[in-house]
Symmetry: C2
Subunit: 440 residues, 2 copies
């Protein structure tokens, strides 16, 4: 059988990784796919760089162009792989590829989280596949597991360490007792964080991925605009330390949870009991914990970024499409795990309505009655305390830290309590609030 023809948009880290892995493991991949998979056209910005990578190896079999439109409209191409990034130009390219009857593989989480509904609708109408394993957690087959491996289950929640940069920073802060700014600089020097790290450290990247996981876990549309997004840039070393003393690790989690009132979709630093396996996922590694009614908890762990781990996911999608290209479009695996006519309209809850536990740190005067005032406010707001830590003030100080862990309560109760607590004369500055999940 003739090889399937792939057009590659972009030859950066992931593009080059895809090219290299496909070439290195060509024989093994063909043994699996039952058909060769051949990159026959590549669109790049820099022709010379591309020729250096591709030229010597397969010579004229792979055409290099600078105009991406030539790839997505090329009648010879069966599958377009989009690894350029960005959301506007790529959307146009992906939509044109679909309009031209091509299957699409993309690693672009932002594109899908923002324009996914439109893209999947177009793909469905045209009868082509849009595959995106690489968009969440790199090489970990989490999309496939959620969409195909757990189909028997009512999925209750998904909680993932889905951004390697922030997990690396948090691991280093804890390990070495350093502050955020120092570790960020080190991470940038080591290549774990980008020159402009905003998308990673502010949680945007994790929110794109959580949006995609929520859609396929619950059968809802992509709703990135409704996700709550809080990063780690405000996190202080002292809170990591206090959390540790209380038996918790702080991780940036992407959480999608189904509740009776609606769906919670949120990204924020989170305390997790340090006895949980996922609390021990360190460095740039990713892990996703899924709670489902029949199977219980399952976890998926691996590298969430990097040239070859991401290429692994891109190529798995290419093999899937190669295997299924001849299948009746009505009976392939649906893009978003659920049939397009069965998408649910369950609402995403506003953040004030979510329910979780909280870590609260207060700077207070070392005087009688402070704790009574604070705990009275908490009780009035229906918040009960699960654990407390009060530090002895050092010799010259008249202030000390009180740390409290609360039982589950609604976010709006905590916000109301904090507002009142901050008005107390015996409380200095702002109250630090970090959410806490037992993940049990």
């Amino acid at each position: 059988m003739k090889p399937i023809k792939v057009g590659l948009l972009g030859l950066g880290t992931v593009g080059a990784g895809t090219f290299n892995v496909l070439r290195r493991n060509q024989e093994e991949i063909t043994r699996r796919a039952g058909r060769g998979i051949e990159i026959s056209m590549v669109a790049v910005r820099n022709l010379e760089k591309a020729q250096a990578l591709i030229g010597g190896v397969i010579g004229n079999a792979c055409e290099i162009v600078t105009d991406s439109m030539l790839v997505v409209t090329n009648p010879e191409i069966d599958i377009v792989v989009e690894v350029i990034g960005g959301t506007e130009l790529t959307k146009q390219l992906v939509m044109t590829a679909i309009a031209n009857g091509k299957h699409v593989v993309t690693a672009n989480k932002a594109l899908l989280a923002i324009h996914g509904n439109e893209i999947f609708k177009a793909a469905q109408d045209k009868g082509v596949m849009v595959a995106f394993e690489a968009a969440v957690a790199g090489g970990i087959p989490i999309i496939k597991s959620l969409r195909e491996g757990l189909t028997a289950n009512r999925i209750e929640w998904v909680a993932g360490i889905i951004n390697g940069t922030t997990n690396f920073i948090l691991s280093e802060m804890r390990d070495k007792g350093l502050d955020f700014a120092t570790v960020l600089k080190q991470a940038q020097a080591l290549g774990y964080a980008e020159a402009d790290p905003t998308f990673d450290i502010e949680g945007v990247d994790a929110a794109h991925k959580a949006t995609i996981m929520a859609a396929i876990a619950f059968g809802i549309p992509m709703q990135f605009d409704k996700a709550y997004v809080e990063g780690i840039s405000q996190l202080q070393a002292i809170d990591i330390n206090y959390a540790e003393q209380l038996g918790y690790r702080i991780k940036l989690l992407g959480i999608a949870k189904r509740t009776a009132k609606g769906i919670e979709l949120r990204v924020h630093p989170t305390l997790i009991p340090n006895t949980r396996l996922i609390a021990n996922v360190e460095g740039a590694m990713n892990a996703i914990l899924v709670q489902a009614d029949a199977v219980g908890a399952t976890m998926y762990y691996g590298k969430g970024a990097g040239a070859e781990p991401t290429a692994s996911a891109v190529i798995a999608d290419l093999v899937d499409i190669t295997r299924l290209a001849t299948a009746d479009p009505e009976h392939r695996v649906p893009h978003l795990a659920f049939q397009p006519n069965s998408i649910s309209q369950e609402v995403i809850l506003p953040m004030s309505e979510i329910t979780t536990s909280y870590y609260l740190r207060l700077r207070v005067a070392d005087q009688t009655g402070v704790l009574a005032d604070v705990t009275r406010i908490l009780a009035d707001c229906s918040i009960s305390i699960d654990a407390m830590l009060q530090k002895e003030p050092t010799a010259n100080e008249k202030q000390t830290d009180i740390i409290m862990l609360t039982h589950q309560t609604q976010e709006k109760n905590v916000l109301a309590a904090i507002e009142k607590i901050e008005l107390l004369n015996s409380v200095f500055g702002r109250v630090t609030k970090i959410r806490l999940e037992q993940l049990s």
Copy 2:
């Protein structure tokens, strides 16, 4: 579209779990599969027990019979689910189902490890699917991950905690410092071990699963008869304790590894560094660590047994088949991950040829020169020592324990060295040997 009709063979733990989950999550499963999945015939031994479970719920829509052949030959049935267990009768039933053009879903690891090659050949010739996610690690989608999620990779090795009973026993032995026999009795009382626990504790069950994983990881036939199988019944509490002191946990691992000389396929108690995530998988949980060239290490964690976790995998297979039933048989996912005409004939190495590290415990006389004699023998057998622990003899004793961890070496070298060491006058009894894997 008409529901797909399923015939269920067996209504024991897994059969009843499948029935219940399918009923409970019917709506959600149909939203995913695009078509109802209906159990329309069940074969059981005890009609009354079956009627109690099924009767009140869907009444006459599900026929209950005692003759399994009525299910596998019923022209109304699209998919046969085999959850009876055993290898001889079930083989006949599965082969008859295939001959009658039915797709098959089975949770039967023994059946596939022993008769898989014949069964898959028959299925291929007939153009039907045989799905078996439930056969390895219960609800963890490890078959799908290996077969579809990691297709880009050359898989280097797979190492798994794939038997919950033994992992529960090992966790308890370590936690409570109890010996094997005591914990086994507790496990039996708790339902974690069967009345006849031989298949679990002697490693046979894990070897069935490792055989299946080796086949789909490397594209080789099922070769259970070539697997090395060693269980945990001989494991002593003191070795778990010494391992702990040296920074290791002992787990029963199923290992499939590709080497330049051939494939290693083995099940045995194994020391793992306690810093590895998989070393911290406790109780009856399962986890499989996969090392592959592009993605690196990935791990899959969850419940490996039980009614609903196993049902989760059985139903995922039903949904897969429902989705793919109309696909061209030549272009579905191949049963063993690789195309049937691309199966490799790489040999499974005899145990004497495998390479790993070792934990050795010797009972020796507390006298000068013993260590010199022992280390000389090891050096002569090309074994180098990585770490050592020698306990001070207690007051009244003239004997002590020496524990050594070796660097990587061949099994045959270790066997030769042990033979010589046991001949030394200063060494008492047998040398205890446990294999050690760094899993890095």
